[in-house]
C-alpha cells in the first residue's frame, strides 16, 4: 500500500512538471561546451569554447543554463539547481549568475550554503569544504523574474 502511495506521489510530481512545461511558465535550457586550446598565428595559446559531445580526462567543461519567464506573471523565488557529476570536479570561482546568490552543497543536494560556510566531516575531522567536495550548485535569484525576462547561470568543471 505504501508503495502505491509513493507511486501516486511520483506521478503527481511528474504531472506538475508536464503541466509547467506545457503551459510554458518558464523556459529552461542547458548546454555544455569545452575549452579548446589552440595556438594562433602569433604563436600564442588561445582558449576557445566549443560544443562538447566527447571529452577526455583533464578537459574543462562549461555548463550554461538559461531561463526565461514566458508566463503572464512575475516569477518569485526562482532557484536554479544543477548537480555536479561524480566524474567532474567543480573549478573554484567559476560559478556565475547575474542577480543571483550562489550556494553549494556537499551532501548530494540536501542542504546548501555559501562557499565559505561549508564544512566536510571526515570521520569526525571537520575541515572547510573544497571545490572537489561540491555535489550541487544552486543560484538563488535575489529578485523576481519579470514577465519576459531572461536569466543565466554558468559554471566550469574539469573531468577527472
Amino acid at each position: 500500500m505504501k508503495r502505491l502511495i509513493g507511486l501516486i506521489l511520483t506521478m503527481s510530481a511528474l504531472t506538475a512538471h508536464a503541466i509547467a512545461q506545457e503551459q510554458g511558465h518558464l523556459n529552461v535550457t542547458t548546454f555544455v561546451q569545452k575549452e579548446e586550446v589552440s595556438v594562433n598565428t602569433a604563436g600564442e595559446a588561445e582558449t576557445q569554447l566549443v560544443e562538447a559531445t566527447t571529452v577526455v580526462p583533464g578537459d574543462r567543461v562549461v555548463y550554461t543554463i538559461t531561463f526565461r519567464n514566458i508566463s503572464d506573471d512575475a516569477a518569485e523565488n526562482v532557484v536554479i539547481t544543477n548537480p555536479i557529476a561524480a566524474s567532474l570536479t567543480y573549478i573554484d570561482g567559476s560559478a556565475f549568475g547575474p542577480g543571483t546568490e550562489i550556494q553549494f552543497s556537499v551532501d548530494g543536494g540536501n542542504s546548501f550554503a555559501e562557499r565559505g560556510a561549508l564544512t566536510v566531516d571526515e570521520n569526525g575531522d571537520v575541515r572547510p569544504a573544497e571545490a572537489k567536495d561540491f555535489t550541487h550548485i544552486r543560484w538563488v535569484m535575489q529578485q523576481d523574474l519579470a514577465v519576459g525576462a531572461q536569466g543565466m547561470a554558468r559554471f566550469s568543471a574539469v573531468l577527472n
Partner: protein, 337 residues
Amino acid sequence: MRTASQRRASALLRMCATACACATLALCNLAAAAGTPAGTVIENTATVSFDLGDGPLSLDSNTTTITVVERLDVAVTLQSPQTLVSAGDADSALLFTITNTGNGSESFQLAIDSLLAGDDFDPVPAVPAIYFDTDGSGDFNVGDQAYTAGVNDPLLAADASIDVFLVNNIPGSATNGDLGFSQLTATATTGTGAPGTEYAGQGDGGVNAIVGTSSGSSAAIGEYFVSEVQIDIVKTQAVTDPFGGSQPVPGATITYTITVEVTSAGTAAASVLADPIPTYTTYVPNSITLNASALSDSADADAGEFDVATDPMVVVRLGDLTLADGVQSIVFQVTID
C-alpha cells in the same frame, strides 16, 4: 516481475547515483589517477523552481550528454640502475616498467633499439630480446616469458603496469669504462600521432580514441657500463717478539697490514676482504682496524668482524669501491702459538 532483492538493489543504485557523488572517496581517488574511464556518459539536467503566485513549481531543463572517450597514453620508465657488465657478457638484462596512463584498456607493442647514438658501444640484442618479468622477481631468469610482437602484446587496463626486461649481449670488443645504451619503446596498438589525433570508434566500447600527451608512445633508455675493475691488494707483516726483537718465536705478535685499492675506472661493488688466520697463530681480540678506526670482533653494525668459523678469519666489508676512494687499510694482529 521484480523480486524484493532486485527492488532493494535498484533502490541502492539510485541512492548512489544521487547521494554519494564522492561519498566513496577511496573509489574516487582510485579513478583519479588515470582519469574517468572511457565510455562513461555524463548527463546533466538543471532544475528551476519558482512561484507564479499559485504555489511552488519545479521544472527540469533538457538533458545534455557528453561521452568520455579513450585517451591513449603510456609511460615507460627504467627501473635498473646503471648496469655493470664485462666485455663478452651474455644475456645482461635491464628492467623497465610500462604503465597504461590512459583511461581505457589498451594493448601495447614493444620494441628494442640498441643502436643508439651517444654511447661508446652498441649492445647486441639477444634473440629474443624482450621478456616479461613473469615471476615478478625483478631479476631476469629462466621462468620469464619472451615477448613476440603481435602475439602477446601486453593488454593493460587503465592505470595498470607490467615489468619488462631488455636482454642484450655485451660485445667482446667493449673496453673498460665504455657505456652502451639500449632503449625500450611501448606503442599503443590503437594508434599514435600528435596529441589530439582521433581514431573514430576505436576506443573501449566503440567510443572514439584520442591520442594523449604521450603521443601514444613512450620510451626509456637503460645503460650498460663496462667495468672490469683493477684492484691492488697488498699484505705486509711486522713481528714483535717478547724480547724486544722481531723474531717469529712462540709468543711473538704479528701485525698484518692489508691495503686494498681500485686502480682503474669502474666500481668494485660490495667489496669484502676476508683473510683467514694462519695456522699455529691465535687472533688478538679487538685488534681489527679499518683506516685506523677500530672495528669490534662481533658481527654487528660496523664494517667488520672476527669470524670464528672452522677456518677463523677477519672479515671487513668495504662497500662499493672506486678509484676515488683511494687506499683502504686494514690492520689486525695474531700471536704465534
